[in-house]
Amino acid sequence: MAETCQLAIIGAGPAGMAAAIEAAGLGLSVVVLDEQAAPGGQIYRSLEKQPPAGRPDLGEDYDQGRPLLEAFRESAADYRPQSQVWEVTQQRDIHFQADGAVQHLRAEHIIIAGGAQERPVPIPGWTLPGVMTAGAAQILLKTASLGARHAVFAGSGPLLYLVVWQYVQAGLPVAAVLETTPLANYRRAAPSLPGGLSVPSYLIKGLRLIADLKRAGVSWISGVEDLRADGEKALEAVSYRKGSRWRQIETGHLFLHQGVVPDTNLTVSLGCRHTWNAVQACWHVERDIWGGTSLDGISVAGDGGGIGGAMAARLQGRLAALSAAQRLGVLSAEERDRRSRKSLRILTREGRTRKFLDILYHPRDRFRRPPDDQTVVCRCEEITAGEVRAAAALGCQGPNQLKAFTRAGMGPCQGRQCGLTVSEILAQAHGTGVADIGHLRTRPPLKPVTLGALAACKKSRG
């Protein structure tokens, strides 16, 4: 007999923690599965381990996660760290790995709060050791107080600027910031700027942050149109192009960033309906205002359903919990609506201001569909953009057929690093929309499981 609970929450970031606090407060039996060793997700990662005086170098937003973490720890939710979910079925059976053993859990309702990942940035040389994401630089700073001197940061988007700011606060000299935001994006985004006095605080924060960096004397190069990582066995230099002119900076560290995208592997494998979001250039799981997907009893909260940031994630987590409680008969519909009104109002406002950021930081075409045929797009199987285009020319219709042509998407990362790129390249090659080309179908196990662990579980089940 598998273990059971009323509500299972996958992910212990802001959305998962907020959902757990709300649902446990309503008396539901709640199990929270998360693959990290401590709660917080990526945004509040390692926050509990920081000194009581805080980490001023990481900024005030990071420290503001503490009350949420404390409330989560105090809640009655059964929190299971280091639990890697590798399959969820439509019958709401969850298969996960913890303590080296395969375990099972059956839930009456599931809230998926798996969060986001950084958008892949396929440029020539991006597989060289020394090339990492800006998020990776931040994780090393948060979890291990490790930083790289004279690194180059390249790309576009709020997280990139924040990590550079954190580097400067930590006293780490930065070689250069290569800013790739197209100038045309500013013009396109301007009409979406909320009018009057309602300029959102994070826009002001963002502008202040960039001003801080320029004041600190960080070499800030805007209008960068192309990037290349150079080196034989590891990164030795970064080349960038403005107009027709290439320049090179010697460095052992390049941190790339082109925004974040939802991690959809779990919702895709479950069979939830997804749609292509052209503005954010990624797949979104279809969900109603409560986070409900096309499948009964499966909700999605937070950035895993569409990028909205930590505040939106918390609100969505709470709403998904209220809706789950209503579905499970613990709360009347009227009571759910009454408790949700304020959260829904704030969420609508957050959504409006988000649009500006989405348009402004929409990545350049070449960073989503590398024009150079030699550029690797599938890191695991080392499949290049040219090989994907050649397959399309031979008649390959979509990303799933492409697996048979090239093996792209079949390595250990299961398409997490190439899925978006492959769909976009194929759509372009066929002169059609990404929505028509479709996405890679992911299948369990979503994370590697050893045959030994599987065999042991069969034995213990009798």
Binding site: T127, A144, A148, P412, R416
Partner: protein
């Protein structure tokens, strides 16, 4: 190379990286530990023997795979270092050993 922003670490552990002993900060991930002592190449890919190191640091990219305590293809960014842990960088595809003690793929 990555440098530690904290000078005198109180809690450390000793691990072996490709057979050599190193003292690293306790409680950090294997990937962070290797980067902190200057390891950049964690493995060579089975597909084309190209060198790789950690890319995402959050369990997404699977490029930081290495052999941890004899078990190949472990995600170094998702594993916490422990005293006396043996970590080996790996080369090419891992061997399948029916007796459960897989070594390095280039053995």
């Amino acid at each position: 190379m990555f440098t530690d922003l904290i000078a005198d670490r109180e809690k450390t552990v000793t691990i072996r990286i490709d057979g050599n002993a190193h003292t690293v900060t306790a409680g950090i991930t294997v990937a962070a530990a290797l980067l902190s002592v200057g390891v950049r190449r964690f493995r060579e890919t089975p597909a084309g023997n190209s060198p790789r190191g950690p890319f995402c640091m959050m369990g997404v990219c699977f490029d930081c795979l290495c052999v941890i305590d004899g078990q190949p293809n472990r995600q170094a960014c998702m594993t916490t270092v422990r005293q006396d842990m043996a970590i080996d960088t790996q080369s090419g595809a891992a061997d399948l050993d029916p007796f459960g003690h897989s070594g390095r793929g280039d053995a």
